[in-house]
């Protein structure tokens, strides 16, 4: 057993170097894909690049020893949100209009570049300068990798809160569908009165009484 431990100790610098290489590879991939997702001319390709970028971010989570979060990231972002945006693009054919990608003025682009550059410079500089190791408490870090433990924490210990949050998310989705239905109901006059849209009052009886009143007044004036 000793030779195994000794071999691992000898190999540790190589493993560290390999981890750093993996980090730089994933970082370059993520940033390049994020740029392509924003700048590629074809919006369908841009959405695909966004999905690949989300998968690459899951690589960071694997590097951080968080495999369950990586799985969630791939399932929700790559599998769910990317597919949702693709459906959105298919429902909105005008989104594929390439004229939307050109800028009316160069001023807006310059301003956006400066603002995002300032955000990146300030936050990145602070991340590099700030003494993070001093802020982290010493001791054995608490690493919980048990999926069963996480499931028990979620559903046994905090099940009520999870269900409340699920209800809030469900309400959001039902509200989104209701918004679409409301607008559709307003556009269709044949079903006016349903979906909470008030029926329009018919103005005909009021118009008749007004006509009678004016006839009577004209007769009185002639007499």
């Amino acid at each position: 057993m000793n030779w195994k431990v000794k071999m691992m100790q000898d190999l540790q610098p190589v493993l560290d170097l390999f981890e750093q290489f993996e980090f730089f590879l994933i970082a370059a991939l993520v940033l390049a894909l994020a740029y392509l997702a924003l700048e590629h001319k074809d919006i369908v390709y841009a959405v695909f690049f966004f999905g690949f970028m989300a998968s690459a971010v899951a690589g960071f989570f694997l590097l951080l020893d968080a495999p369950y979060i990586a799985g969630m990231q791939i399932a929700v972002y790559t599998g769910g949100i990317s597919a949702l945006i693709i459906f959105g693009v298919l429902l909105l054919p005008r989104a594929q209009d390439s004229s939307l990608e050109t800028f009316a003025t160069g001023r807006v682009r310059t301003m956006g570049l400066i603002l995002s550059g300032v955000i990146m410079a300030i936050s990145g500089g602070l991340a590099l300068i700030f003494p993070w190791p001093e802020t982290i408490p010493e001791g054995v870090p608490e690493q919980s990798q048990s999926l069963q433990g996480l499931a028990e924490w979620l559903w046994q210990d905090h099940g009520v809160y999870i269900q409340i949050i699920a209800l809030i998310i469900l309400t959001t989705l039902v509200g989104a569908v209701a918004l679409l239905k409301m607008e559709k109901a307003e556009a269709m006059s044949s079903i006016t009165g349903e979906f909470g849209v008030e029926a329009k009052p018919s103005p005909e009886p009021e118009a008749e009484t007004e006509v009678v009143d004016t006839e009577e007044t004209s007769e009185e004036a002639a007499n």
């Binding site: 841009a46 966004f50 995002s116 991340a127 590099l128 993070w132 608490e142 949050i165």
Partner: protein, 103 residues
């Protein structure tokens, strides 16, 4: 081991790229993609802090799962709002509203 600050730099670069997309672009789908890229950067910072801060407990994992789930819900809501915008203005160009406000 890779230092925490490296992860944070990548996370903040993602936030900056997302902010660039949200400021500069006028296509609503691009703006949504920019918002999602920002969300990814925030998630990365959250996980990195939890792991390096010695608190990658069930609480941290539950919080991150919650953030990812809410991101999916808000994307669906954003797409519905885009459909409504398209019905009203006949396009997904955000600059039309800005021009109307100026006029």
């Amino acid at each position: 081991m890779v230092p925490l600050s490296w992860y944070l730099v990548v996370a903040f670069m993602l936030v900056g790229l997302g902010a660039y997309g949200m400021i500069v672009k006028k296509n609503l789908i691009r703006i949504l993609i920019g918002a999602e890229i920002m969300g990814n950067g925030v998630n990365l910072a959250l996980v990195a802090f939890a792991v390096y801060g010695g608190a990658f407990s069930f609480t941290a994992q539950g919080l991150i799962i919650l953030v990812i789930s809410v991101a999916a819900a808000h994307t669906a809501l954003a797409l519905v709002l885009m459909l409504m915008y398209n019905r009203r203005y006949g396009t997904v160009d955000l600059s039309i509203v800005q021009k109307e406000e100026v006029a």
